[in-house]
Structure formats: C-alpha cells, structure tokens
C-alpha cells in the first residue's frame, strides 16, 4: 500500500477478522440452542413429532427460497461494486432488502396463525399439552424469534450499507463494510439452513 498524502488508515483484513470472530460467537449462541433442541427431541421424541406437525412446511420452504436468493443477491452486490457497477450494486441490495421484508411478512403471518390458534408459550392451550410439546413450541418461538431479530438487524445493516454506496463511501477499492454486511447476512441464511429441516421437515 503506497503512502500518499491522503492515505487513510484502514485494515481490511483486520476488519474482516473482527466480523468473522463476531460470527463465531453467533454460531456458538445458536449452536447451544441447537444442542438443547437435539437433546429435547431425543428425550421427547413422540411429543416433538406431534407438535412439529403444527408447522406449515410450505411457508417454511418459501422463506428458505427467499433467504437463499437474498444471500445470492448480496453476494452479487460485492461482485458489482468490485466491477465498479454502482447502480447494479444498489439494485441488488434493494432486492436483498425486499426479500428480507418478504421473509418478515411471512413470519408475521406464520406467528400470527400460531398465536391465533393459542399455540404460544404459556397460552391456556399449550399449558394443557404434554411437556415435550410445550418444549417444542418454546424452542420454536425462541429460535425463530432470535433468528427473525437477526433479520431485522441485517436489514438495518444492509440499509446503512446501501446509503454508504449511494454516497460513494463504499467504492470499488474500499468495500470491506459491504463484505462484512454480506457475511452477517449469510450467517442469517446459514442458521436458517439448519432451522428449516429441524423444525419444519423432521417430524
């Protein structure tokens, strides 16, 4: 790196390393939840089997596709910025944000349906269920809830990056922030890759 008069101090590799270390802590956080899920499922096999049937595979599948496509579009936005295609990068980030919003709308109707049917932790109906089923719905709401919270944080991050590109703060030779936002978004996708089969498919 040349030392010029307007040389700015930045460490892209260090920045990326920081993001990865944060992602590792996130993986351990969700890993702990997956562990609780795995042991509970082994312990209350029948209850989990019955309770999991309440989940809508179609909605889960749609959200899986939505997240996978959004993961690709944000990865492509890095390609776009590297190729100095600012408008393409902005468009791809716009699509990513829209897909994130679609995911949340789906989640809203999904949770709304569950709550309407009195299937939330502590509801009168859930309290009459067997222990394992109570546990399933507790884990379902906590894990998808924590995941949805990450979606919201990701949307804020992508929105911020969008304007940084718009204002030429992120440029073809300085795009680590976009890459870090991308890494975060892929993490959200990564967690869903395991959540979807575990909660919706394996009954």
């Amino acid at each position: 790196m040349e030392h010029t008069a307007n040389h700015e101090h930045r460490d892209d590799k260090g920045s990326k390393m920081g993001m990865w270390i944060f992602i590792f802590t996130e993986l351990l956080l969700f890993g702990g939840l997956f562990l609780v899920y795995a042991v509970s499922r082994a312990k209350f096999f029948e209850d989990f089997h019955i309770a999991a049937h309440q989940l809508n595979v179609f909605v889960g599948a749609v959200n899986t596709i939505v997240l996978l496509v959004s993961s690709m579009t944000i990865a492509m936005s890095i390609t776009a910025i590297q190729k100095n295609q600012k408008r393409v990068a902005l468009m791809l980030l716009g699509i990513t944000l829209t897909l994130a919003f679609v995911f949340m709308v789906n989640k809203y109707f999904e949770w709304g349906g569950k709550i309407h049917h009195q299937l939330y932790p502590g509801s009168d109906i859930v309290l009459t269920l067997k222990h394992g089923q109570v546990l399933f719905f507790g884990l379902y709401f906590f894990m998808t809830g924590l995941h949805a919270f990450h979606i919201i944080v990701g949307m804020a991050l992508i929105g911020y990056v969008f304007f940084q590109i718009k204002n030429d703060k992120i440029k073809p030779d300085n795009f680590q922030l976009l890459e870090n936002a991308g890494l975060y978004w892929h993490l959200v996708d990564l967690i869903w890759i395991f959540l979807f089969p575990l909660l919706y498919l394996i009954t």
Binding site: W20, L35, S71, M76, I78, I193, F196, L201, I202
Partner: protein, 94 residues
C-alpha cells in the same frame, strides 16, 4: 493476498451456487416427505451441512480467503461438533 489481486466471483458463479442450494433444498423436502424415519433425518442433516459448506465457501468467500479464516471457521465447527458428541455421550450413557 491483501496487497495482491483481489478475487472477484462472477455473477454466473453465484447463480450456479444458488441453483445448487435450491436443488439441495428440494431434495431435503422430497426425502422427508416420502419417509419420516431416522434415515431421512440423517439425510436432511447431511444435506444441510453440504448447503452450509457451499454458503461458507462461496457466498462467504472463505474459499478465496487467507488460510487463517479457514482454520478459524473449521475450529468453531469442530468445537460445536465436539460439544454435541460429548453431550450425547453424557445423555445416552448416563
């Protein structure tokens, strides 16, 4: 790597990875639809691991990053695997 040529993943490559991920998702849904036994649980988890690897290596660019990132990521997943194995040993043989 940092000072050298930066690797640019083509749009096409990203598209190919997405198609693979969607294909694998379809496999998981189909196999759990047909059979709900422990076989399909194993397949579903195996496919999820393959999908995660694709996301990590291509979308998250790990394949083209410095070795230190790969080693770190590998260590975290190894740690998670160890915790799972140890917990289940405790749970199953207590």
């Amino acid at each position: 790597m940092q000072h050298g040529e930066v690797h640019i993943t083509s749009y096409r490559a990203h598209g190919v990875i997405l198609v693979l991920l969607l294909f694998l998702t379809a496999i998981t849904i189909t196999i759990t639809w047909v059979d709900a036994g422990s076989f399909s649980v194993g397949v579903a988890m195996l496919v999820a691991c393959v999908k995660a690897t694709l996301v990590l290596f291509y979308f998250m660019h790990l394949k083209f990053d410095a070795l230190v990132f790969k080693v770190f990521a590998g260590m975290v997943f190894f740690l998670l695997a160890v915790v799972f194995v140890v917990t289940f040993f405790d749970y199953l043989f207590r």
